[in-house]
Amino acid sequence: LFWSGSTVAATMAEWSGLHSSTSRHTMDKSITLPPDEIFRNLENAKRFAIDIGGSLTKLAYYSTVQHKVAKVRSFDHATKATSDELYEISVQEEVTARLHFIKFENAYIETCLDFVRDHLVNTDTKVIKATGGGAHKFKELIERKLGLRVDKEDEMTCLIKGCNFVLRNIPHEAFVYAKHADSEFRFQTTQPDIFPYLLVNIGSGVSIVKVESEDKFERIGGSSIGGGTFWGLGALLTKTKRFDELLQLASKGQHTSVDMLVKDIYGGSYGSLGLTGDLIASSFGKSATADKGFPKEDMAKSLLHMISNDIGQLACLYAKLHNLSRVYFGGFFIRGHPVTMHTITYSINFFTKGEVQALFLRHEGYLGAIGAFLKGAEEDNPNQYSWGENYAGSSGLMSVSPDMNPMQRARSGTFDMLEMDRLERKLVNLPLLQDASSYIPDTVDLAEDALAREYWLYCFEEALDGVVKRALASQPDMPEAAERAEKFRQKYRHKLQTLRHQPFAYGSLTVRSLLDTREHCLNEFNFPDPYSKIKQRENDMALKYYQKVVKSLEELSWEERQFALIRGVLAGNVFDWGAKAVSDVLESEPEFGFEQAKRKLEERPWLVDSYDQWFERLKGPPHKCALFFVDNSGLDIILGVMPFVRELLSRGTEVVLASNSAPALNDVTNGELQILTESIAAMDPVIQAGLREDRLTLVQSGSSSPCLDLSRLDKVLAMVVRERKTDLVIIEGMGRAIHTNYYAMLSCESLKMAVIKNSWLADRLGGKLFSVVFKYEVPAAGHDSEALTPP
């Protein structure tokens, strides 16, 4: 391939011809990853930062992205008379903020700067923040090429700023590396408080930094034995010049021929101290007495162990002295190299006997650039927002690993990207989580469960054609939609392929991450809401039945009604375009009705059935306030959820309906729910009173996923939950209550309801298609009171 095979000189010569219009066409063909897919959205870029390391350059910029969003708006009454539809759907342009980070080899710096300059328009940027050892060396070049003044920032400050940023904004940023485990990468859950931590940065030397808060950090120590020692000493010993090659040599070597082990001195182990025979007693201890030369590989391996062990030991001593248990490792010595992550992990385990875990970061290489960027963007106050990793625009972890996927390496070995979108809402933990620090949203980690991974990757691949079709159908009037839909297909298929080989690329691989990635890819190609029309049709249809459903419920006895309400929610939940089994049925039988759905439902006892306990609870005093995370639009929300909400309100329970902030599949969005609720209120005095008296509140969840991460919810939602002293959380649907949150422990009563609409999953859970999960949980005593105390 173009980027991998040719020499740098040839590559640059070819690329420099890129901008002339005559060669562009041919260039695009030969470059698998064209530059406009690397330096994306440069037209709208501002605020540049650059981090130039020993071999890699990281460029950062901020851009405003204009993309389409689906909006709903009520028809006013005048027009409504002439239309069957309750609301109109419009696609609007919205401007959001995005951070771009691009990593490439220093050899390409000049070409990249040229490209940036040629595509930079309308920017009022005057300075570029720079950090890293190479910032000085390339200062003149940058200033000349870009015409921007280079403003240098302290390396360590940038590093820490960047580290805080990724730890706060990217779930699954940190991981533990376990070479011989089923999944090498064990991602850590986001901690509510990221401080304090220790950052061990292994560059040419080692810096050990204690970070106590956003602005308070201290270099508490360091060592001169670091990556430079490995590289420099390694080059002397093995005549191998490149760092990567040295690591490769090391991974093939045997250190036991060079090192003096405990068993070389003792003949076996040193039992009374518990030192095993294989332990290194003296690094390079055998090379003094042997007359023979040593294989390069063996010396490199010995050197690697010596340096890793030494750094690990010092890190442990500092962690112990400062009583810190979170220790992150970074720097070029670590940077995505399985070999060094393994030796450092081994060393930390050895010296702390497992008390401290070595943690690594997925975006470690970008920390300096992120920090430098943040320094320059302080007036935009990026830290006041929440940001989210854009899976569509980010390369993912280890795309450069030589062992993983040779194709992948050849393609993107040169360029690696990270994109982060500014979220419109600040995201926080649900205050009702029993223990936020141990909360894991996802039920199954597909990286560890090979069978499940196999199935779901297959499932999403199979469903792709349908999604493309649906996306296309949602924009019938746009001629270029076909092209975009095809690009979407390629992008998402490629993501699925990447994840097949590198399940760890974007953190823990879960059904949620697969769904979210799909949403990101759809948005990337301007399909903001492929289901908008379907949702609209179903909503309109369902509204027509609302009063009839309510009336028939009213006719039941109290006991019968309670059960019918639950069956109603479950029957509504059968309607789900996100589930393959159902979308097939919906596609073929559009008249598939609510009553039919009820007949599809499993009879009691359900697969998970705590209805009796719930029923007993209903006989007791009403709940103060129920928080209801709703799922699908159409029959689900209107005929299933709303009658249930109505009953809760009648009981004297306040209700907070939490719905998605932006579209995902056929899930009802906050915008849609506003309109739906108003039109239901027009028919139903109970709902109307609820709204009027502020006992029924609609809030957005802050999410645009078919699943639910209770640790990243809209700040307003969290506030409302606290204010209203919420004592019941209801989570509905497969995405929110089974793929995620099935095991979530809440500090108040909770109800998790879902119909299993996937036969594989049903099989796994020991049920069958349309099995019901009805999980009513009451926390162990002692939790409910403390959870609602403001922090």
Binding site: G54, G133, D154, M156, T157, G203, S204, G205, S207, R219, G221, S223, S224, I225, G226, G227, G228, T229, W231, G232, L233, A235, L236, L237, K241, V258, D259, M260, V262, D264, I265, Y266, G267, G268, Y270, S272, L273, I280, A281, S282, S283, F284, G285, K286, S287, A288, T289, F294, M299, M306, N309, D310, Q313, L314, L317, Y318, K320, L321, F351
Partner: protein, 382 residues
């Protein structure tokens, strides 16, 4: 905990020897690189005794005391000899002898030639080699080793030697003004009330012990970057073959050509973190560059290796001292033999980085304490 181990290992011995053991009196420490041997030469032998003394014993005594070198590699450190020492009621001189561990077969052959086994003595030995070579002692020289824990012996030896040396140069010393090369001088130190004490033994590898009393101590940690690493790397980098050669080269080299200093990166001090410009930022860091690799001398490389290993031991030690809350550090082990460079570096590092809180102490008999401890075990089973 440690105390128990001592009692266990010595139990069979004390039941065998209720009275003074028969001559010759040896203590042996077989390390990864060097064998250390201490020999007590009785000087108060009566005429009667002399008559009874078997020829083999006489021959061994004469051989050891009349030579200062044995074979190609055995050496007696005459300057360390302790005279007029009273041990177990006997007066005599204590001799300190060393030879490379790889020459142990030659030593065993000599023992066989001199019919050492006919003396029915117990050979108290410590160090890993006491375990590794136990069967060789038995098969090649018909000798039964009494194996002892090396850390028990080390501590016993240190405390004993420090207590008996009264004349001549002080056993324990330190460097005054360690941060000022012009005024840095060696000064005697009295190791009274020595506890708690951090004892750093730098042999092929390094062990760091926190010592609270003669019998109460723990091994805090260790590092594989020790004397063996210095010599091993020097041999690979410079082609030298002995410790003395490596040290000689190091004394003539300049490590700043090999190491990357803070000032090489920041142009001066790194004020933000209080790092002085002269501090090493990356050991061997300049060797990442091909040009610089081609311009350094072997002497520079030897010096950089010495500085790297020494400073690393210094920082690990300093961290241990902080974690254990101990202010006095005694460095021992043969890495420090004739190695004033490293001792001064350690003294400097301890003082500078602890802002004067930590004191680095050294002992004249740096590498022999394990062997002395083994000898003491023969005479006074703990």
């Amino acid at each position: 905990m440690k105390l128990l181990a001592v009692i266990e290992t010595s139990a069979p011995l004390s039941s065998l020897y209720h009275i003074m053991p028969s001559f010759p009196w040896f203590g042996m420490d077989i390390g990864g690189t060097l064998v250390k041997l201490v020999y007590f030469e009785p000087k108060d032998i009566t005429a009667e005794e002399e008559q009874e003394e078997v020829e083999n014993l006489k021959s061994i005594r004469r051989y050891l005391t009349s030579n200062t070198a044995y074979g190609k590699t055995g050496i007696r450190d005459v300057h360390l000899e302790l005279q007029d020492l009273t041990l177990c009621g006997r007066t005599g001189n204590l001799h300190f002898i060393r030879f490379p561990t790889h020459d142990l077969p030659a030593f065993l052959q000599m023992g066989r030639n001199k019919h050492f086994s006919s003396l029915h003595t117990t050979l108290c030995a410590t160090g890993g080699g006491a375990y590794k070579f136990e069967s060789d002692f038995r098969t090649m020289a018909d000798l039964q080793l009494h194996k002892l824990d090396e850390l028990d012996c080390l501590i016993r030896g240190v405390l004993y030697i420090d207590s008996v040396v009264s004349s001549g140069p002080s056993e324990c010393y330190y460097f005054e003004n360690p941060t000022d090369p012009d005024r840095c001088i060696q000064k005697p130190y009295t190791l009274e009330n020595p506890y708690p004490l951090l004892l750093v033994n730098i042999g092929s590898g390094v062990s760091i012990l926190a010592v609270y009393s003669e019998t109460n101590y723990k091994r805090v940690t260790g590092t594989s970057l020790g004397g063996g690493t210095f010599l091993g790397l020097c041999c690979l980098l410079t082609g030298c073959s002995t410790f003395e050669e490596a040290l000689e080269m190091a004394s003539q080299g300049e490590s700043t050509r090999v190491d990357k200093l803070v000032r090489d990166i920041y142009g001066g001090n790194y004020e933000r973190f209080g790092l002085p410009g002269w501090a090493v930022a990356s050991s061997f860091g300049n060797m990442m560059s091909k040009d610089k690799r081609e311009s350094v001398s072997k002497e520079d490389l030897a010096r950089a290796t010495l500085v790297t290993i020494t400073n690393n031991i210094g920082s690990i030690t300093r961290m241990c001292a902080l974690n254990e809350n101990i202010e006095r550090v005694v460095f021992v082990g043969n890495f420090l033999r004739v190695n004033t460079l490293s001792m001064k570096l350690l003294a400097y590092a301890m003082d500078y980085w602890s802002k004067g809180q930590l004191k680095a102490l050294f002992l004249q008999h740096e590498g022999y304490f394990g062997a002395v401890g083994a000898l003491l075990e023969l005479l006074h089973p703990a």
